[in-house]
Symmetry: C2
Subunit: 332 residues, 2 copies
């Protein structure tokens, strides 16, 4: 049973879908997610399912499961709980992000915030954090600490990002710092915990952690690129939201550094009309910022692959390499 | 060192302050709280300290510490971590509550929400939940489950309450259900975990859990009463907020059941002007609803005391009885 998880790439017969390698475990994750959001308050379950059952790539569970399998893990029950915990944490942040960004759409439908309002969406996010910790809290102290560290990073990344909203002085170094904390930390924790729960030695746990961090950064850069060059259908939300909200994405930062004044102006929130935004997005596309951003994304993909090559060859390592390829070229 | 924790009752020489019995442990809790909110992002620490260092009665830690001592606990380090975790959870809910209720004031100063805005306050609440679970997650599976159950109840209570906002049909039974979930569950968890960490047998753990639940309900009813009869100075926020926000408090419910139409109208949000609210508050005071609410508060205090009497006499049991007396008569 695929339980509604879409394949990572539909059209290719040559490159197999890495999900195939952990299909059974992913079905267990799906059922753990459904159980986790069951509440005495039906509304709470409904809000959580609005997002949890509404698609999502399940990348964080996938990375954790694959790292676990790569390291020869067999205690499936344990890794399934942790993989579900990571997805719950991710979903909690999406619910809260929609409140923060006043997000209208998510995964191709109205956001939970728009459907259910502030109170219930905020509380549903808290509920998901709590459920995630219920799962994670049953592991040993190291796993609890790593999970907590990743979640702490998420919040610190959000605060750091909010201090750079509409601030054109944000540097590339600061951007990477935000991305490490806001996105990559969960990939980092997932890969590390997957390896650890498989009983891998410390050095391999560390290497897989590094792999996750680099993959996460690559993934976020692609997310930033798609926000400019994607379509509403692919994104599940309107294009250009980073520019509209003043969130410092890589193409925006690069275009501003190239002296693109319409981009800078739109990012700073001057003239935020739809035609102004469209013009600024066109300016980013023509500036070469997208190609440069792709260059960064590829660099982090190469770092991730270099980590993998330090680990023994296996079917799952090959699957993980495939995942990197899919993410760095992704259009989804 | 008292670390800024105010005595529970300043004026009485006859009834000693129960805090005296756990003064050393409470100082350790204070220092754990200060450590817990340390973040790379100074703003995050600042927002958390705005509330954590801004007073607060530390009742949840107090109940946990006292239950631990009553049961002869000696592993102080463990109970201090859990006591701090309970206060962090409570503080996280206060930050999120201020967003939900658009709260202007808290503990005698502008709320974090008014000082720091939506994004940073929401994220700071998440951060405190995470830090609490970092502490709680290091204990065994039962403690993790109880903590998670209490937090789940908090969110479910919030959702349940929000479904009764401005709804005059709310019954007493529904009110108690809300209070059990929204407030009493943390007292319940604190007392239960305190006893468990002290190594008490299951029956005593259960009795102390019951004690905490009853004390928590008594406490919340008094909170509801003070919202009507208190002063801004005592409350640290304006009086009548429950009526203004349409939150179903016990005096409001009782006055509506007595047919008080101005109360009903103000609660339903019709004519929410300041004079209308003042008139409705006067109507509650004259209706006898306060005396009846006091009766309920006393009933739960008696239940709590009955639980204590089932446990062996000790200095700490006496202190806990004193705590019940102080809370049921409290004007703070």
């Amino acid at each position: 049973m695929r339980s509604g998880v879409p394949p990572l790439r539909k059209e290719s017969a040559v490159i197999a879908d890495p999900l195939e390698l952990v299909r059974e475990e992913m079905a267990l994750v799906e059922s753990r997610l459904t159980c986790a959001v069951a509440s005495r308050e039906k509304l709470l379950t409904e809000i959580c399912l609005h997002l949890v059952a509404g698609g999502g790539k399940r990348l964080r569970p996938l990375v954790a499961l694959m790292a676990f399998k790569m390291m020869g893990g067999t205690r499936t029950e344990a890794i399934v709980d942790m993989a579900a915990a990571l997805e719950l944490i991710h979903t909690a942040t999406l619910l809260h992000d929609d409140i923060i960004d006043d997000g209208e759409q998510r995964r191709g439908k109205p956001s939970a915030y728009k459907c259910y309002g502030l109170t219930d969406t905020l509380v549903a996010g808290d509920f998901l954090f709590i459920k995630a910790f219920e799962f994670a809290g049953k592991f040993d102290e190291r796993v609890v600490q790593w999970t907590s560290d990743a979640c702490t990073s998420l919040t610190e990344g959000e605060i750091l990002q909010s201090s750079y909203v509409r601030n054109p002085k944000v540097t590339l170094k600061e951007y990477i710092e935000i991305v490490e904390r806001k996105t990559a930390c969960l990939f980092h924790a997932g890969a590390k915990i997957g390896a650890y729960l498989a009983g891998a030695p410390d050095e391999r746990v560390r290497i897989l952690g590094d792999f996750g961090l680099n993959l996460g950064i690559c993934f976020q850069i692609m997310d930033d690129i798609l926000d400019v060059v994607g379509t509403e259908e692919i994104l599940g939300k309107p294009v250009g939201m980073d520019l509209k909200d003043g969130n410092p994405s890589l193409p925006i930062i690069l275009a501003i550094k190239m002296g693109k004044r319409k981009v800078r102006s739109a990012f700073e929130g001057n003239g935020g009309s739809i035609p102004d935004l469209a013009t600024a997005l066109e300016e980013i596309k023509k500036s070469g910022a997208i190609a440069r951003a792709h260059g960064y994304s590829r660099r982090y993909a190469l770092n991730a692959e270099a980590c993998l090559r330090r680990l023994p060859f296996s079917e799952h390592r090959e699957g993980m390499e495939r995942l990197v390829d899919l993410l760095v070229d992704r259009t989804f």
